[in-house]
Amino acid sequence: MRRYITRQLVQLVVVIIGISLLAFSILHVIGDPVLLLLPQNAGKEEYERYNKILGLDQPVYVQYWKFVSRAVVGDFGKSWYTSTPAFSLVLERMPPTLYLTFAGLGAAMLIALPLGILAALKRHSFVDTLCTMLAVAGQAVPIFWLGIMLIIVFAVRLKALPASGYGTWQHFLMPAFSLGTFLAPITMRLVRSGVIEVMNMEYIKTARAKGVAERMVVIKHAFRNACIPVITVVGLQFGQLLGGAIVTETVFAWPGVATLTVESIRNQDFPVVQCAVVLLALVIVTVNLIVDVIVGLIDPRIRVGG
């Protein structure tokens, strides 16, 4: 087990270095920050001056080193527009995004688990086909479209839920559901195939043969083992889920990192963009690590096999 975790940690460090490189190159390799800051008619002298201020006259590796050594202590520079530190701006907006993502994850599970298990148990029946259809259709619904529809129905027409914003549990319902629908189809199909695989295994057949009640079989054995692929995919899909959160936050005026990032991108406020991207990536890496460890704990085969 220890070797398994060590290997994961090494991988983690390498991935984090990769992320820092990517975040750094967004600004420095693809674009020229000075051109973004300067007025159109600025002369060469002014260009040089800005270049110096931003430290861009130094070799790229020196700049990268500075970026990283500052980032490690949470210094991503100041926002070009509000002059507040990018790090605190992003950090302040992080909790709403995390809550939304986890709520979305929860919603996806609430939809996917029952439907997936049902489809697996009633394989090839009408129910199964219906579930598959739902999944394919669910994958095709643009998340923002669904969000807008929910607002119209539940907020404007029924006046049952707040149309946007953040604060109470009611505010969570529509955004979480939209985001959940985004992840539910693939999770449902995974649950279905996981349960099918497990139901065919010897020990389940044994349990059945022993006369254990069908419901107990499903709950005790099949469900638990079907969880493994689900947990794995949750880890992998977490990045996707955050991507979905960007759109969800925009539709529901949710005060999270995603809206902040989109805003900063539109404003070309790169310190904030870099900071947000790095922190979000760190969240994803952490979740992936936790998932790997959990899967490793539940499923002994992985620890041994690798």
Binding site: V15, L190, E197, V233, I265, L280, A281
Partner: protein, 308 residues
Amino acid sequence: MKAASGGMGAAVAPDDLERGGGLPAETRGSLRRLWRLKWGVAAAALMLAIVGTTVLAPWLAPHDPIAVNIRLRLAPPAWMDGGASKHLLGTDQVGRDLLSRVIYGGRVSLLVGVAAVLLSATIGVPLGLTAGYFGPRVDWIIMTLINVMLTFPFVLLALAVIAVLGPSLPNMIAVLGAAGWPIYARVVRAETLSIRERDFVVASRALGMGHLRIIFRQILPNLVSAVVVIATLQVAQVIILESFLSFLGLGIQPPTPAWGNMLGEGRVYMLTSWWIAAFPGLAIFVTTLVINLMGNALRDWLDPHMKL
């Protein structure tokens, strides 16, 4: 490492693993496969119609998609009260013909979808082959690269790059293409790993056949079906992503019609003139649905046990 080599993709999930079971189940399985294939054929026909419509847009679209007519703003679809017969699906907030815009908008979506997927495959397949064929060290480097890409919030990456490069059609294709390759690399790598150990490859190697010849003659042909399936499903993903970006105002810029930006512009009118957003939304839905159905059918047809 396990999580990454699990081979779960963004749009594709492992489907049935129907092993075991008696003869009746087998028969039922293949019947079902055939049934699904029928859906696939229908989907393919519909897709052909969609592609045909967009390709023939200049001849099929009744109006210039960017011609503004403020005297005829917000006209409802022809069949509704107050609808004008020359605008079948109505007009938008500045009186542009919605049908023409939906038709032309499809060009952008499909072009971005197909081009980005080709680009992704061009990057991803060689990398996957290299990782799978040339042993642990190269494999480790490429897998790490893949992990970095997968960790990096895909949409954010696309947004950030577009913000620097500026929103335009080629940039959009480049960004979505460059961001989408890891899934190809991962699947190809996994397949390559298993094919590499098969008898005929081992034999060829023993006979002194060169690496490149083995890769091109023996491994690549066995990968085609997997790549085709992923590519098909990815087109749907990319179309949705493109509409995300356009919706956020960072994609195709108005007045050029794209389904995403039409939906974004029509949002304000959801309560009054629903058709402005409804038809592009429907177009996105139908197109991605059809592509997904096609992709699933392709998978069943090419390799029912494919674990994607």
